[in-house]
Symmetry: C2
Subunit: 378 residues, 2 copies
């Protein structure tokens, strides 16, 4: 890596930590124990997925606690001189408490979303022996992460471009070839395309649902081949640790079923476009959700759209903001979200259309170019 | 699915639930709230990975709580008449408490390993309003899962066969071709082979580490090509929801570095074989670990083997028993475990050799046939 580039990255991570410290300061919190691997990456540049690492931020110092398996990786990822890398053996909390003993903290403020109940209770017990109170303080880093900076946006755009390119290849592959694949094989074909296009992998288990299986929003592909010509594909890639997410429902046969599908397809598409046209800084997530939901309801399919309209995307495939009827979050410029209404009819099938977009001051920028009109693939 | 087969499967799941009930009865526990997706699959046949489903087992009834996204999947997976499938909207705990109100439970016993601290605290609060105590009761189903039954063993053997076959293809692919791939491309090539061999996917993110990167036990593949000819591959597949796990370290060049590597390779291999020869029902995991560890220590590399000797494998890639210096678990017939010693030298490289095996009364059965002698691939 070029030295100049390293310095810039290190500045980026340092500035993020400073923003966390500013929040802690404002709230009169003396420390924060960061447990989410994505939050740790966001603040340090070290991404140890499921590594059981800990990041302790205090007013003056930052400690990254990691184990033997990740030590070298952590050392090579972290450029900042401000972060002390500490090796723990077996129990990360024992080492944490050793460090805490050098401070006079009355409370330790921890993230509670990415630590199990088992471990949380255990840490609470261990801290109480030292007369330290465990306080839960969630969402500080997650909230910062909702607004993407320039570096992040350029990576996410690249991830979306790869996704577009891979979907284009699926369409070019053609109906006849798709009909020869099982759901599992098609899912794998897409993953393959994304990796060939330089993604580091898929961002979640690809949903490739044929025919009536498309009515199950979180379906797992099986060894089944296409019959009626309905193909729902929900997929995305990981590029430089950031995720993309896209859904298209395509058709390979013009037949009885496709007429029924065309009707619900057009409703879903119209609902999606209406939401996209409404999306801009300043509106609440619940009101964005209601634009699509009310439209679908007005067409008589209100009970067939059982999930939220969308979600934030970034280092995690699902992150804040949540876009559903209950979410009071106000959209802000440079949030990256999905808009993905759907209609699902048990034992018949379903349609979902999903784009990713960047929220702008006066609108939004859709990150995909893939076609989303109803058509019979040839 | 053939009807007879369905009945048998349903019997299998019912008998597992009965074994859980027997344990609850013995311990005078009135209920168990199962939160692990793998445990739910083990007891019902429904595998909703990250679906936020809940399984409540009481003396007479079993409730599976799931949401809109997984409802149809749950219905089609569960054959047993004894399980009532309940749909929840938004908050699974609200629906759970509605059900609990029909009982006079003073306590609810929950698994704490697969629920976040955030959610655990939330559930505790919600239960306390109804004067119900939350008690943590971990490991009941996990312990049953350590001993694999006939159905499981035949699936796992198939998974291992697929893994063997895929590795054979890597070797046949040849040194020249491997040298043309990046770490990411080689990892993907292996995944591709496993899926072509009818696996449903990889069982974890494949480690494909070239040259000195092999010193990082949990390394993530990069866009790097081979230089010195050292290739550490740790990979496995998922077949019918069960995992395989295998590691081989291979060499594509005979050069200065390979002589150094041959020395540590032979030590790791000897340590692994010694452990395999010791493995049988009745010995503790810690003593199995020490067989390999003491040998590596005697050769002067004690500080370079920083992880446990192995772990159980099944529905999860890492499950009980843990095989390390601290584990007092006694090995039993039909446990399926890995044995995977390694030596890692920072900035130089590492060697790990891993097999999966079934513990037997008087020994063990290694589940792989892939070669593991030191050789220069051609």
């Amino acid at each position: 890596m070029h030295k100049k580039h390293q310095i810039e990255l290190s500045d980026l991570f340092n500035s993020r930590v400073e923003r966390v410290r500013h929040i802690l300061n404002t709230r009169k919190i003396s420390n924060l124990l960061v447990l989410s691997d994505e939050n740790i990456f966001y603040l340090t540049g070290f991404y140890g997925k499921n590594s059981n690492s800990l990041l302790l931020i205090t007013a003056k110092k930052i400690y990254l606690l990691t184990n033997f398996l990740y030590l070298e990786h952590a050392k090579s990822s972290i450029d900042s001189k401000n972060i002390e890398i500490v090796l723990y053996k077996r129990d990360r909390f024992i080492k944490l408490i050793e460090i805490l003993e050098g401070y006079y903290f009355k409370s330790v403020y921890i993230e509670s979303r990415k630590i199990s109940f088992k471990e949380g209770l255990n840490l609470k017990r261990m801290l109480s022996i030292k007369d330290i109170k465990l306080e839960v303080k969630d969402g500080i880093v997650e909230k910062l992460r909702t607004i993407k900076d320039k570096t992040e946006i350029s990576i996410i755009k690249k991830a979306c471009k790869l996704t577009d390119k891979s979907f284009e290849r699926v369409l070019n592959y053609g109906a006849k070839n798709i009909e020869n694949l099982s759901e599992i094989e098609l899912a794998f074909y897409i993953e393959n395309l994304m990796v060939k296009n330089k993604a580091s992998g898929k961002s979640f288990d690809i949903i490739s649902a044929f025919d009536k299986n498309s009515s199950m929003p979180h379906y797992s592909p099986q060894e089944i081949t296409l019959k009626d010509g309905v193909v729902l594909l929900d997929f995305g890639c990981r590029y430089k640790n950031y995720c993309s997410d896209m859904t298209r429902t395509i058709f390979t046969k013009k037949n009885k079923i496709s007429n029924e599908f065309k009707k619900i397809y057009d409703i879903v598409l119209e609902a999606q476009i209406r939401a996209i046209n409404t999306c801009r800084e300043g509106i609440t997530c619940s009101s964005l959700d209601s634009v699509a939901r009310e439209f679908i309801r007005s067409k008589g399919y209100g009970n067939n759209f059982g999930h939220g309209l969308g979600h934030g995307v970034g280092l995690e495939i699902h992150e804040e903001p949540v876009i559903n009827a209950a979410s009071k979050t106000v959209l802000k410029e440079n949030m990256v979200i999905t808009i993905e209404p759907g209609i699902y009819i048990e034992n018949f099938g379903g349609v979902r259309i999903e784009d990713m977009l960047i929220v702008k001051k006066n609108g939004c920028e859709v990150l995909y170019n893939s076609r989303k009109d109803f058509f019979i693939a040839s």
